[in-house]
């Protein structure tokens, strides 16, 4: 580990901290329908959209109508992307003459982008037309992120409101998020990425001949416009197979830094927006603190493990930290850092190959996802996932002192806890059960890229990532019919089986009356609460996943130290 490595982390965190309040304030204004500095430009466009689309923007929705609209929109988007991928060969913007995708792979990809997962069983440079990239994948990058944020906003409204049945209007939240938050940022920072070297063109790939006479095909395409929303919306689906490890998507240390900031900034800002909307910013900072502590802990372990390197490689005569699957311009520190950032959130973009991390270095991204992507998290999904844990923590604290648990002046009762438990159970069940099935089926073992415990880690990572809607991979795991179908189902449940209980929880809370704070009220913005919240997250995560993780990365670490090969 070097001072520079830590300095990058410290400055990164300082910037995240600095943008949290302005971004949160801005988003709170956007979602409460107040004027922002972009209103003069965007309000007319917003009105046109509502009129053309038949949105009654003044209409409020119950949690049920909100969830139905969200499901209907996701379903249409899923069907649309499936058809686009199955017909791209005949459509415009296809200078490479890319063929249509197979049905099972198109299904997997369509679910993947609809659910904000961006798990990729295809290679973008050869399997996607420019039209599919722009109007299919990048479009989903915008709207799936906006859907996530919309749900989070609705959940927050459920906590704030009293004695009502409604949580806002899904179409308005979706539109405002896309127009006021995602689009302007993408335009400005997308151009920044192009300035740094990310291609943005529509012509066919360019043939070149190197000085030594080797032929090479230089890829291109509308990459900059997609790269920016891929990070900002915590989508993570690369334009090319190597994702942000590719110098096309991530050409310089500065783009790397900005991409990481893009991944983290909205998630961080949402915590402040939360505090602002519940009229107590301390509540937002409490959640921010819990996230920050888990984030730093993860980075420290990953950085240490990768800097220490692979002792087996040291024995055969090469010195230094682990650079297998890493780029020179990023090195060990910025790669371990990106891996932590991308799995704390549900982004899943990678600037290095997680499959080639040391055993413990690879355990960090895995655990980050298993905790439920609540460390800043996916845009929106991180906040509502964290609120589920907050409700559980309040409930457990209430049990410990023998009082009816309350949160933000609302009694937390049976129904709320049931919905919270339901949401919290989705991750472990959908991660562990399919892993166990895959580990005993020939089809599940057929496409592994590694043997021994690392092969098991590939399966576990695959199902963890898809169900957490992350999308990063131990990419040695290859596609086949079994994985295309099963991970598709897994992504679907990972998204909607958390979002719908979270909305139901919000609906239940919105209908409650506020009770005044008393001397017995458990404060939820204190250091004790933050510690308790982290405790609940870690204990739930550890109790659930430690056995599985022991069979993968942990046993591999012990064997790596003994020089055992598979």
């Amino acid at each position: 580990m070097t001072g520079f490595g830590w300095l990058q982390a410290v400055i990164f965190f300082a910037i995240v901290l600095a943008v949290t309040k302005p971004l949160g304030t801005y988003m709170a204004r956007v979602f409460e329908g107040e004027r922002t500095w972009l209103t003069p430009v965007l309000a007319p466009l917003e009105k046109v959209i509502y009129r053309l689309c038949g949105v009654r923007d003044a209409e409020e929705m119950s949690w049920y109508a909100y969830a139905l609209s969200m499901l209907a929109f996701s379903l249409i988007g899923l069907a649309y992307l499936y058809v686009l991928l199955r017909t791209q060969k005949w459509l415009p913007f296809n200078p490479q003459h890319v063929d249509n995708m197979s049905p099972d792979l198109a299904w997997n990809t369509a679910v993947s982008f609809t659910t904000n997962t961006n798990w990729q069983f295809y290679s973008g440079e050869t399997a996607m037309s420019y039209l599919s990239q722009m109007a299919g994948l990048a479009w989903h990058n915008f709207v799936s992120a906006a859907v996530g944020i919309a749900i989070a906003v609705a959940v927050v409204r459920g906590l704030v409101r009293t004695n009502v049945k409604t949580l806002g209007n899904f179409w308005v939240d979706l539109t405002r998020c896309s127009l006021y938050v995602l689009l302007p940022t993408s335009i400005v920072l997308g151009l920044f990425l192009v300035w740094q070297g990310v291609p943005q063109n529509l012509h066919a790939y360019q043939a070149v001949h190197s000085i030594e006479g080797f032929a090479q095909t230089i890829t291109g395409g509308p990459m900059g416009s997609q790269e920016v929303i891929k990070e900002l919306g915590t989508n993570g689906g690369g334009f090319v197979n190597a994702n942000s490890a590719s110098p096309n998507e991530n050409p310089t240390p500065l783009t790397n830094f900005v991409e990481m900031l893009l991944i983290f900034s909205l998630g961080a800002g949402l915590t402040y927006m939360y505090g602002k909307m519940v009229k107590d910013t301390r509540q937002g900072w409490a959640i921010f603190s819990a996230m920050a502590i888990l984030f730093v802990a993860g980075f420290a372990v990953a950085y240490w493990a990768e800097a220490a390197g692979n002792p087996i490689v040291h024995q055969i005569g090469a010195a230094g930290g682990n650079l297998e699957g890493k780029e020179c311009r990023f090195g060990v520190a910025a790669s371990a850092f990106f891996a932590t950032v991308t799995t704390d959130t549900s982004c899943g973009a990678v600037n290095s190959m997680h499959d080639s991390f040391t055993a413990l270095g690879g355990l960090v991204p895995l655990v980050n996802m298993q905790l439920g992507e609540i460390v800043f998290g996916g845009v929106g999904s991180g906040l509502y996932g964290m609120i589920v844990f907050v409700v559980l923590t309040v409930f457990i604290a209430g049990l410990m002192v023998g009082r009816t648990p309350e949160y933000l002046g609302k009694k937390v009762e049976r129904r709320e806890v049931q919905f919270a438990i339901l949401a919290a159970l989705v991750t472990p069940v959908l991660c562990l059960v399919p892993t166990a099935i895959a580990a005993v089926l020939p089809a599940g073992l057929a496409t592994l890229g590694n043997n021994g415990p690392h092969g098991f880690s590939e399966i576990l990572y695959g199902f963890t990532s898809t169900n957490a809607n992350n999308g990063s991979a131990f990419a040695g795991l290859g596609p086949n019919l079994f994985y295309n179908l099963l991970t598709g189902v897994n992504m679907m449940f990972g998204r909607f089986a958390v979002a719908i209980p979270a909305l139901a929880l919000a609906g239940a809370l919105a209908g409650k009356k506020a009770i005044p704070e008393s001397s017995g009220t458990f404060t939820t913005h204190s250091a004790i609460f933050v510690a308790l919240l982290i405790g609940v997250i870690v204990i739930v995560g550890a109790l659930t996943f430690l056995p599985a993780d022991s069979l993968g990365p942990i046993v591999e670490h012990l064997l790596m130290l003994r020089g055992k090969l598979f």
Partner: protein, 191 residues
């Protein structure tokens, strides 16, 4: 539900036009106007012929040039098949390959000092890493100097000129762009 579906179809259609077509096409127009070199792939031409891209690594085999890292992209440095080996730390395949790479490096660089730096024996994540570490450049300097009949000191001086430091003094790692240093070795001015 029918109403939700109707609205969904309309919002989907409208947002595809705005976010899926107008946005990327307008960005392409802006990028082509503002940053045409980068937007078109940072291509490098020598004597009017395209020889590569300054951001994409290439395969180098002759002793008179600096070599890049091992590549898992296609048959090596293929930008249409980017990716790493995806082999884990206890992979026999990985360790065998690394052992071979080290042996080959040692044979090609008999006068090199010390063990080969880690980036020269590991495959990058993209398979098209354009850079090597400064240590790896200095490590290869004796071979390059010998093949060119020049002195190690003069090659080292060129490396020192070509090293790109950390951005703003703290971001990323110091590095040497292999294509650019090889063009400089040949004394060619890229266009």
């Amino acid at each position: 539900m029918i109403r939700h579906l109707g609205t969904s179809v309309r919002v989907t259609a409208f947002s595809i036009v705005l976010l899926g077509l107008i946005y990327p096409l307008a960005m392409t127009g802006l990028a082509q106007a503002l940053f045409p070199r980068q937007a078109n792939g940072s291509l490098i031409a020598v004597d009017g012929k395209l020889v590569g891209s300054s951001i994409i690594g290439q395969l180098w085999t002759k002793p008179r040039y600096f070599h890049g890292r091992p590549s898992a992209a296609g048959k090596g440095y293929d930008p249409t098949a980017t990716g790493g080996t995806n082999l884990g730390p206890t992979s026999k395949k990985l360790i065998d390959a690394t052992r071979k790479t080290i042996a080959a490096l040692r044979a090609e660089n008999p006068d090199a000092m010390g063990p080969p730096p880690m980036d020269l024996v590991t495959s990058s994540g993209s398979g098209i890493d354009p850079d090597i570490s400064p240590e790896s450049a200095y490590w290869q300097a004796p071979r390059v100097a010998k093949a060119r009949g020049s002195t190690v000191a003069s090659v080292n001086a060129l490396i020192a000129k070509q090293v790109r430091g950390r951005t703003f003094g703290f971001l990323g790692e110091p590095r040497v762009n292999v294509l650019e240093i090889n063009l400089a070795l040949d004394g060619v001015k890229p266009q």
